[in-house]
């Protein structure tokens, strides 16, 4: 994966094209339609983002059908997709899966899986969080078999394959299992986020293929990149929420004037703006870090996630507050964002987890 192959101006043009596409393909009415349908996938939006715009191939080298770009470009797409609440597996299949596979450094796995991910024809997801206190284990029984449970697996119901991290007799490994295969039980969860379903994945001796070798170091890098990716989503949603709140403050009249004229509301909106600008600077900085500089990547990813996980929820909550009663209704978009924001907040560690790691990194605690 490259650091950045494009200029800021090119990325800005790219942003416009993604935003244009999503504003017609995934307006709020469409998002609600797909949620009601219960499939967890907006097929038309996914086809447009993958096959037509090539976004699923951004992080994949050209030799495997991708565009050979880096996080600097991908964060733009993530911001825009989250801003539109697009019901697509971009984070799981467009970011985490291709990164997880490439970090394993397994040429055969690259050739097997990356082309399908690049054009969006196959959907893969990552099962990285152990559930129920059980540590997922890989046993070598004439080929690898996986045992354990994974929770909060994004888009598991629509994935063809699931990438699983598991403990091996010698360390940590990355494995791939067939989502519909033997010994894989997918139980949909009553997830907070309505735009991105999650599932509990139970592995009961599921036959698995190992990708690459010892994976603990690679997993650390994957977590850092996941922090940057979820921060980008938080930024995209925060910016949209701020715009929604400001628009409402300009038009809603009480006591004879628009409520945005009252300083209590105005200052809340100004603070939202300051946090959005801060998040943007942090995300852009983190996305430009050379991923092979793991020390810098680790620190910058902790910083950006600690910041975005703290203030994006604040912005979502403040948006509801600015709207008063209307913000508490199902019909208003604010809760759809709040739900996704709270989910991105905890993925790869919330602000407390990140600050805890920073304490150790800075030598404040052992």
């Amino acid at each position: 994966m490259k650091t950045s192959t494009t200029t800021a101006a090119e990325r800005s043009e790219f942003r416009s094209s993604v935003r244009d596409f999503l504003s017609s393909a995934s307006p709020e009415t469409r998002v609600r339609e797909v949620i009601a349908g219960g499939t967890g996938l907006d097929e038309a939006a996914w086809k447009g983002l993958s096959a037509d715009l090539g976004i699923t191939g951004l992080l994949i080298p050209e030799e495997f059908g991708g565009q050979g770009m880096g996080m600097a470009e991908m964060v733009v797409a993530l911001e825009e997709a989250a801003r539109a609440l697009a019901v697509v597996p971009l984070l799981s299949s467009g970011v985490l899966a291709p990164l997880a596979i490439q970090l394993a450094g397994d040429a055969q796995a690259n050739a097997t899986y990356l082309p399908g991910l690049a054009d969006g024809s196959s959907i893969m997801t990552l099962a990285g969080i152990d559930g129920g206190g059980v540590t997922t284990q890989a046993r070598d029984e004439n080929g690898w078999s996986l045992y354990g449970t994974k929770t909060a697996v994004l888009n598991a119901q629509i994935a063809s394959q699931i990438l699983v991290t598991a403990t091996t007799p010698t360390g940590t490994g990355l494995f791939v299992v067939d989502a519909k295969g033997l010994g894989v039980v997918i139980t949909p969860q009553d997830a907070l986020d309505l735009t991105r379903p999650t599932a509990l994945v139970t592995l009961e001796g599921a036959p698995a293929v190992r990708i690459g070798g010892e994976y603990s170091e690679a997993f650390g890098t994957l977590v850092s990149l996941g922090r940057i990716a979820t921060s980008a989503e938080l930024l995209g949603m925060s910016e949209k929420l701020m715009e929604v709140a400001v628009d409402y403050a300009k038009t809603r009249v009480q006591f004879g004037k628009p409520i945005g004229a009252f300083q209590a509301i105005k200052h809340r909106c100004s603070e939202m703006f300051a946090h959005v600008e801060s998040m943007r600077a942090a995300v852009e900085t983190a996305a430009l870090v050379d991923p092979s500089d793991t020390v810098a990547l680790h620190e910058q990813a902790l910083v950006v996630k600690a910041y975005c996980s703290r203030f994006a929820p604040w912005i979502a909550e403040a948006t509801i507050q600015v709207h008063g009663g209307i913000g508490f209704t199902w019909e208003h978009c604010a809760h759809l964002y709040l739900r996704r924001v709270k989910t991105d907040e905890v993925l790869f560690g919330n602000a407390l987890v990140c600050r805890d790691e920073l304490q150790q990194l800075l030598g404040l605690t052992a």
């Binding site: 300083q263 600077a281 942090a282």
Partner: protein
């Protein structure tokens, strides 16, 4: 840029020890600081942003900020005549007539120390509501009124005064910029003692003080335009503040982590919160400087950085006071005590945080005015 910094380092390696040798124990005195400014001006470092025709180097914002960073890293003293160098001189260069421009060189070498007579008891955040009046009488202005929070007022030889010259015009349109020598009869200066014990500001009273009409800077009644153009010069400085606060928090954490006392997780988390915010603020500062380097003009960034910087730097001093515990209130830890008191001004000076939030709301977000 590297060549410039190299030249500066070579210069500093000689100039700073020479100055220190001359002033010894008196380095904190006003005269010592003026002497340092003279040396910095002679070397064309203090006046690097000035055009070559005024003796400067004609350098842009980024080069000047780099110079200031290097000078600060040597632990050199503050330049005492900063207001003259950064605000008054550029105003005189742009709007002054030939006679008025003669002040510029004297501002550089501290023969003249300038202050700006802007804020008044009734005109702080709402500066344009100022009421000090300058009435034309023959070939003189007759000035009556009061200024407050005048930086360097006790040391100044001259003031760039903003006074109302047309009481009937809309508030921004009836103000003029006038040069007032501080020894003019009818001008009285009193120091303002601050909560941290210092007295960097003065109150200035005008009672029938008379100055020639020739002291008008720029057009009559357009003092607002004359002044606001040059205030913009200073704004990029917030990006440097951002970087310095980031460095300050980094070294505070280093200091705490190296101390013999175990750090409680509660304290550690407070420090890490500051660290996270300062790293993000630093990123904003660097993005703003990069924009300037590419020829762009910073817009809302400076308001945001100013707001975040002032609130964060204030919180850091509060944390340091908390870390000091009882030593902070007994005076055993004097730095913590004074730092805490001084930090109250961070969210007040150069626009209170509350006003900055109004400005962002009104001008950036387009929210209706109150």
């Amino acid at each position: 840029m590297e060549e410039l910094e190299g030249e500066l380092r070579i210069w500093l390696n000689d100039a700073l020890p020479a100055w220190q040798a001359q002033w010894g124990a008196d380095q904190e005195t006003w005269d010592a600081k003026c002497d340092w400014q003279r040396r910095m001006a002679d070397g064309r470092w203090a006046i690097a942003s000035w055009p070559v025709e005024f003796g400067g180097r004609g350098l842009g914002t980024l080069e000047v900020l780099a110079i200031e960073d290097v000078v600060a890293s040597y632990g050199a003293p503050q330049i005492p005549g900063m207001i003259g160098l950064k605000n008054v001189a550029p105003t005189l260069m742009k709007f002054g007539n030939e006679e008025q421009r003669k002040h510029v060189a004297r501002i550089g070498n501290t023969d003249e120390v300038w202050c700006q007579g802007f804020s008044e008891p009734g005109a702080g955040s709402d500066l344009a509501s100022l009421r000090t009046r300058a009435v034309i009488d023959g070939d003189e202005f007759v000035i009556n009124g009061q200024k407050v929070w005048t930086s360097n007022g006790m040391h100044a030889s001259h003031m760039q005064l903003l006074a109302r010259t047309d009481a009937d015009a809309p508030k921004h349109k009836g103000i003029s910029a006038i040069i007032v020598p501080m020894d003019t009869p009818g001008v009285e200066v009193r120091p303002i003692k601050q909560i941290n014990g210092g007295a960097e500001f003065a109150e200035v009273f005008f009672t029938d003080a008379r100055v020639p009409l020739a002291n008008l800077i720029g057009p009559l009644h357009d003092g607002w335009g004359v002044t606001m153009t040059t205030l913009g010069h200073e704004r990029a400085g917030v990006a440097v503040f951002a970087g310095r606060l980031e460095a300050r928090i980094r070294s505070l954490i280093e200091e705490v982590s190296k101390s013999d006392h175990a750090v409680s997780p509660v304290v550690a988390d407070e420090l890490v919160e500051h660290y996270v915010e300062s790293r993000v603020l630093g990123s904003m500062g660097r993005a703003m400087l990069a924009k300037i380097a590419e020829g762009g003009t910073p817009g809302s960034e400076q308001s945001v950085i100013k707001m975040v910087w002032s609130e964060l730097s204030q919180r850091v001093d509060t944390t340091i006071m908390e870390l000091a515990g009882v030593a902070g209130v007994t005076g055993d830890d004097n730095d913590a005590k004074l730092g805490y008191l001084s930090a109250r001004s961070a969210t007040i000076a150069a626009g209170t945080s509350d006003i900055v939030k109004n400005i962002i709301g009104d001008r950036v977000l387009g929210l209706p005015r109150e």
